[in-house]
Amino acid sequence: MSTRVHITGMGIISAIGDSVEETFLSLSECRTGIAKINHLQTLHKNEFVCGEVKHSNEELNKMAGTALFNRTTVLGLMAVQEALKNAEITNIKEARTGFISSTTVAGMCHSELVYKDFFEKKSNENFIDSHFSGISTNEIAAHLGIDAYVTTISTACSSAANAVMLGARLIKNNILDRVVVGGVDALSKFTLNGFNTLMILDTEWCKPFDENRKGLNLGEGAAFLVLESEDQVKKYDKKTLAFLSGYGNANDAYHQTASSPEGHGAFLAMQKALQVAGFDARKIDYINAHGTGTPNNDSSEGIAMQTIFENKVPKFSSTKAYTGHTLAAAAGIEAVISILSIQHNMIFPCLNRLEQMKDLQITPVTTLEKNVDLKHVMSNSFGFGGNCSTLIFSKN
């Protein structure tokens, strides 16, 4: 188990761009993608702001060159296609290639439109072929000819991080040569209303790590990385964008949805990731925090960071004020953002953050920083069910 895990490609679509390039432009120009709801049909349309992908389903299918995929599948496919192109993979079968996707609500974006009529009016418009989680993964895998190892993970908001982690382990254990890993979630009435019942949505632009933060803004999107083994990279003379040097998953085991006040699960996940990376916390140059903007998360995560870094917390920010909270896709999207940070020597700021949190000693980066040498970047993602995951990306 000695091979390093190389990241050779990435693909992304979210509220701040349809590609890695567009995403980088938005990030470096501090342009948020959070805006009034445009495509999602909901009675809350004028009440909440979200990080919507700026295209209708028809437009997305046209861009992807497909006809009938639902929003979740087409978003996923587009990000995977970009990642494979970025990794210069044209022949899937030339190596043992896997696909690990993740999602929280899968085909709900379609199901919720036809659900009531299906049961009450006995209408024929079904959702059995699109609703369940593994379906879009299988559709994307079939479309691209990937069949060596195809699976779907669902652990709420840490899902994509766990997909990345599993991919890395499969490579390190010589089960796969390369694997496409990440996550996708499309906005739905189900999640918008769901989070609203928890009273953790902000009706205005969210303010991660701000004393007066009121909650999160939901987002949508997809992001995937291509992970390859050292042998594979050498064999095909691939360029490496970054390395996945550490990863860790732990459970807070405190409450179904809330994080423990001291962020115990978060602490354990970060600790595990550092152990796997084989270096000290002091080596981390920047943390892309989970930072949803909810009173509970930012406090809990901040305290966990102070604990593990023993009050020498490196620079950190949350980029969710750019993209919104994209649920299963979040860790994938933030993985891409972390790698862009490394590649471009930039730290993308915690937008809309004005006032220091009284219960933290630490302050996030609030303006764009350039010419910062980021050797190791940590990315956190924490989900319902106490599921806490951390990834570490390295330049060399």
């Binding site: 369940f132 060596a148 699976t151 669902s154 609203n196 179904q256 989900g383 106490g386």
Partner: protein
């Protein structure tokens, strides 16, 4: 890459919650085309404060998980991995309907909170205070297999000493209607023939929760060994499945001759079972069946693993499972061959310790 099963639990249509039960008087024909579970006394496992708001799948999954731990005489576990294709469907259905019924206003949060697929794994972690690795796989009829594969990998990596792995899916009225109207369900009048002799379409639907306590090393409690698992995304024909099986067995150091029995995922849909039936005739091994006992559901392979482990432990094959008169003796290795809808096949080899 293998693992030892140190304890197990099964909530299914039959009385599998009872330690002594092993299908002694169970008929070979299913009683209905929807096989709902025989439940344990849930409050023996789940605290009152939790049970009051848990849905059907949560009751099943949490109880089966805790039952498995109790059977192992353990309270602590290093990691929890579950597989569920449909997740918490009852809560999903409840919340979805309430959205429309109430025009997206004044919605109650509990069913949304519990609709996430990793709620079973999360709740077990909460109740056992397990801070370890916690994953949930949601990949159609390979959900349980991928949970098992992950567990085996975790043991191999030395990242956990004991792992609780489970497969769970529920069957509730809206799903019964969904499957029936999609043309999946066998008609009641077609239940007269055993599923392995079926000439009609449709399967008998089921539900269940099965959990296993796994470790890398055997101990005095070990019941059976998982020698290997393989998932197959696509087969071209029965011969392809046969070749896959042969190469799978070879990889784990076995040949067909070492396998005493095949536990086949025939579900009674004569059209979709076709290629698996052909495989069954070509493999030249005794064939047993399980889906007439547990019904067809995405994580039915969990029930198959439970049954296989029990067969290995007891060295006895229930009559209702094996239609032939010559019962295999000295069962050292057993091969589970499963599929759903003639797609996404899986192979699990279960062996004596």
């Amino acid at each position: 890459m293998g693992a030892y099963i140190n304890s197990l639990s099964c909530i299914s249509h039959h009385n599998t919650i009872s330690e002594d039960f092993f299908f002694e008087e169970t008929p070979a024909l299913p009683s209905s085309n929807f096989l709902f579970v025989t439940a344990p006394v849930y409050k023996d496992y789940i605290p009152a404060n939790t049970i009051r708001r848990t849905s059907h799948i949560l009751k099943m999954g949490i109880s089966a998980g805790l039952m498995c731990l109790r059977n192992a005489g353990e309270e602590k576990i290093d990691a929890i991995i579950t597989g569920t294709a449909m997740g918490c469907y009852e809560d999903t259905d409840k919340f979805l309907r309430s959205i429309d019924d109430n025009d997206e206003r004044m919605l109650a949060p509990t069913s949304f909170i519990q609709s996430t697929h990793n709620t079973v794994a999360g709740q077990i972690a909460l109740l056992t205070k397990c801070h370890g690795y916690n994953f949930t796989y949601v990949h159609q009829n390979l959900s349980f297999e991928y949970a098992l594969l992950d567990a085996l990998l975790l043991l191999k990596e030395g990242e956990a000493q004991t792992i609780l792995v489970g497969g769970v899916d529920e069957l509730i009225p809206p799903l019964c209607e969904l499957f029936e109207r999609a043309g999946h369900i066998k008609k009641t009048e077609d239940l007269r023939h055993p599923i392995w002799d079926s000439k009609t379409n449709g399967y008998v639907a089921g539900e269940g929760a099965t959990f296993f306590n796994l470790s890398a090393k055997a101990n005095e409690k070990s019941i059976a060994k998982i020698s290997g698992i393989k998932t197959i995304q696509k087969i071209t024909d029965a011969k392809d499945l046969l070749e896959n099986s042969n190469s799978f067995l070879k990889k784990i150091g076995l040949t067909k001759q070492d396998v005493s029995l095949v536990l086949s995922g025939i579900n009674g849909d004569s059209e979709k079972d076709n290629r698996l039936k052909e495989f069954n005739t070509q493999i030249g091994l005794p064939i047993a069946y399980f889906k007439h006992l547990c019904g067809e559901y995405f994580t039915a392979s969990g029930f198959a693993l439970w049954l296989a482990s029990k067969i290995i432990q007891k060295q006895s094959v229930p009559t209702c499972v094996f239609p032939n008169s010559i019962v295999p003796q000295n069962i050292k290795h057993l091969l589970i061959v499963n599929q759903f809808n003639d797609q996404y096949y899986s192979l699990i080899c279960v062996s004596q310790c």
